[in-house]
Symmetry: C2
Subunit: 338 residues, 2 copies
DNA sequence: TATATTTGTGCAATCGTTCCCGACATACCG
DNA sequence: CGGTATGTCGGGAACGATTGCACAAATATA
C-alpha cells in the first residue's frame, strides 16, 4: 500500500543511474553541480527518504540505542529518558525504550529483543529481581557496547553513571536523626541491587555517626522493588507489629514511597505525626503531599544525558575501549515540613 | 566489533547452501528431517538470530509500530503504553515510543522520524498544540495505517478509540454540583483538542441540567496542556482575581491537576475548603493527597490494547479498509473526601 | 529396464543503498 | 597528433534473508 520512493525511482525519472543519484545526494565532489541540483530538487519534490533498513543492512549498524528501565511511569526514569533522548536525537540516534517492570524474565526477553533488533548499544538500569547478569555479559563479551546507569552491574566492565546514593542516604537519614527521630527503619528494594547496597550503607553510616545501633529488623527489603503491593504492605505491617516499632522510615525509592504512603493511608497512619518519612524520589507529585515528605532528588535528566554521551562514544570509538569510567553525581536534599 | 552470525556462516560451517539453511530454519517440508535437525541444533548453538533489517528490507515491513504521545511521565499514557505493548508483543510487533511534550513541532519531527523508520503503522494521541494534522493526513493518504486514541483527529478517516469524555465530565461536574458547589470553573487543555471539546460539553450539560448559567470567564484553556507552569498559574490567578470567584474547579487532565495543586499549594489555598477540585486523572499518586480529590479515571490500559488490536488488524488486512469504527469506553468516577 | 514421480538441495534474483572500478568524454601538454 | 590528467557518470557487487525455479538423486511405476 504505502510505497516510499527509492533511488531507483529518482534514477529512472531523471535518466540517471542509481549510483549517480546516490552520489549526488551525498554531495560527492565527482558529480557535476548541475546534476546534483537536478537530483536534489527532484528528491525534495517527491520527498525522498533513504530506507533505514537498507542503510542498516549496508552499514551494519542501526543508529539506534536500546534502553532497559523498570518502568516509564517512574518519574526518575521518565526524566532520565528525556535526558537520553535529548542527546540521542542530537547525534542522530533513535531510542528504543523497553520496560522490565522489575522482572528478571522480562529483562531477559527485552535484552534478547533489543539485540536481535541490532541496536548499536544498550543503556541499562537493572531490574529489582535481577541477580544474574549472564544475559548481558554474553552480549558485552560479544562486543555490544553498553553503559549502566542507576542500578549497575559490577561484574560487567564498562562505563557506569550513578547518583551518590551513599551520600544521599546519609544526608536523608542524618536529617531524620537531627529532627529528633531515633528509631529509623529502612524500606528498600531487593538486596542485590547496587542502589540498595549503597543506600543501606549511607543509612548505616548516619546511624553509626550518631551512635545509634543498627536494628536489623528495621531493615525491610522488597524483592520486587515494590511492584507488588503486598510486599510493601507486609514489610510495613511487620514494622508496625514490632514491640519497639520505628517512628520514622527512610525509603529507598519512588515506587516504594508511593506504596508506603498508600499503606499508611489505608491504616490511617499520619505522616509525620505517627511516622516520619524521608526518601529517594523524583516525583513532583509527591511534593504536593501535605505535609510533603523530605526527599532526595537525583539529577535524572543529567544522568540520562551523560550515560548516552558515554554510550555513543563507545559505539563510535574506532578502537576497543578498555578504560572505563564510573561517574557519580550528587543528589540534592529537599527538606519539607519535618 | 559485534558481528552476529548469518545464514551464510551456518551454511559454510555445515557445508550447505544458504537457501537450505533458511528453509530448514523455517521448517519447510521439503527439507529432510536430518538436515533440519542438524541446522537447528547448530543455529541454537551459535545463537543465531535473523537480521531484522534484512527481513524488513525483503518483506517491505518492519513489524514495528510507532506511538505518538505527549509524555510517558503522564500516568494515563504510561498505562496506555503498557496496554499497547501487551498486545504488540503478543503479535510479534515492536513498539517505538516517541514523546511530543505537547509540542506541534516535535509531533511533526517524530512523525517524520517514525515514517522514515518505516514503521508499519501509527498509534496517535495528538499534542495539545496540534491544530493542523496535515503531516498525518499526508501519510494516511499514502496508505500508512493509523489509529487515534484519546486525542483524535476528525479530519482523518480511520479508527478511533476514546474514553467517554462527555459523560465523565458530566458526572464529575454533577458530583460537584450535588455536593453543593455552584460556582464551578473549568480548567482545560487547548480548545481544538477533541478531549477538550468533549469534556467542556459534559461540563456544560451538567450545569445546564441544574439550571446553572455558564460563565465563560470560568472556562480557562491552557494552549500547551499545562506543560508550561505559567499558563496554569495565570489561569488560576485569573480565576482567583474575579470578583465572583469560583468555589470549585473541574480539571480536564492529569498534568493540569498537578499544576493546579502546585499553584494552590504555593498560594496556600486549601483543598477542598477554599476550592474543591474534581478532574480527569489516572495517577495513583494523586490519590494519596489528603484529602484526595475526586477523579475520573479512564481505562487507559484497555484503550491502549484495543487501539493496538485495531491497528494491527489494519496493517495485516489484505484489502484496503474503508469502514472505520469509533469505540467509546466508559470512565469511572472515584469520589473522595468531598 | 526405462520412465515418471518424489525428495532434497543449490542457484540466482530481489529488497534499497553504497562504493569500488572502469568507461567515456574533454582538456591539456609535449 | 599521441598520451596523460581530470571530470562525470554507469555497471555491478555487496549487505542478509527469502523463494521460485532448476536439477540431481532416490524411489516408485509401467
Amino acid at each position: 500500500m504505502f510505497e516510499p520512493s527509492t533511488l531507483k525511482d529518482i534514477a529512472k525519472a531523471l535518466g540517471l543511474s542509481t549510483s549517480t543519484v546516490s552520489r549526488a545526494l551525498r554531495d560527492t565532489h565527482e558529480i557535476s553541480s548541475r546534476t546534483k541540483q537536478l537530483v536534489m530538487d527532484y528528491a525534495k519534490k517527491i520527498n525522498y527518504r533513504p530506507n533505514p533498513n537498507a542503510l542498516s543492512l549496508k552499514e551494519r549498524r542501526s543508529k539506534s540505542i536500546g534502553v532497559l528501565v523498570s518502568e516509564v511511569a517512574n518519574h526518575y526514569f521518565s526524566q532520565a529518558i528525556n535526558g537520553i533522548e535529548s542527546i540521542a536525537y542530537d547525534k542522530g540516534y533513535h531510542v528504543i525504550i523497553t520496560q522490565t517492570h522489575e522482572s528478571y524474565d522480562r529483562e531477559k526477553i527485552n535484552t534478547e529483543y533489543l539485540s536481535s533488533r541490532s541496536v548499536d548499544g544498550l543503556l541499562i538500569s537493572l531490574s529489582a529481581e535481577t541477580d544474574d547478569v549472564a544475559h548481558l555479559k554474553y552480549l558485552h563479551d560479544k562486543g555490544l557496547p553498553m553503559v549502566f546507569f542507576d542500578r549497575v552491574a559490577e561484574e560487567i566492565d564498562t562505563h557506569q553513571i550513578v547518583a551518590n546514593n551513599e551520600k544521599g542516604a546519609f544526608e536523608a537519614t542524618s536529617h531524620l536523626i537531627e529532627t529528633g527521630y531515633r528509631k529509623i527503619a529502612h524500606l528498600t528494594s531487593s538486596a542485590h541491587l547496587s542502589i540498595s547496597k549503597e543506600r543501606l550503607s549511607g543509612y548505616s553510616r548516619a546511624l553509626a555517626q550518631h551512635n545509634i545501633p543498627i536494628n536489623e529488623d528495621y531493615i525491610k527489603h522488597c524483592p520486587h522493588g515494590g511492584m507488588f503491593h503486598e510486599e510493601v504492605e507486609t514489610a510495613i505491617q511487620e514494622l508496625l507489629d514490632m514491640k519497639d516499632k520505628p517512628d520514622a522510615i527512610f525509603v529507598a525509592g519512588d515506587r516504594l514511597s508511593i506504596g508506603c504512603l498508600m499503606v499508611f493511608k489505608k491504616l490511617n497512619i499520619k505522616v509525620p505525626e505517627d511516622m516520619a518519612i524521608a526518601g529517594f524520589s523524583n516525583s513532583d507529585v509527591l511534593d504536593l503531599m501535605s505535609p510533603s515528605l523530605t526527599s532526595i532528588r537525583q539529577p535524572a535528566f543529567e544522568i540520562g544525558q551523560i550515560a548516552t554521551e558515554m554510550l555513543i562514544n563507545l559505539i563510535e570509538s574506532r578502537y576497543p575501549v578498555t578504560e572505563f569510567e564510573k561517574k557519580v553525581l550528587d543528589t540534592s536534599l529537599f527538606i519539607r515540613n519535618t
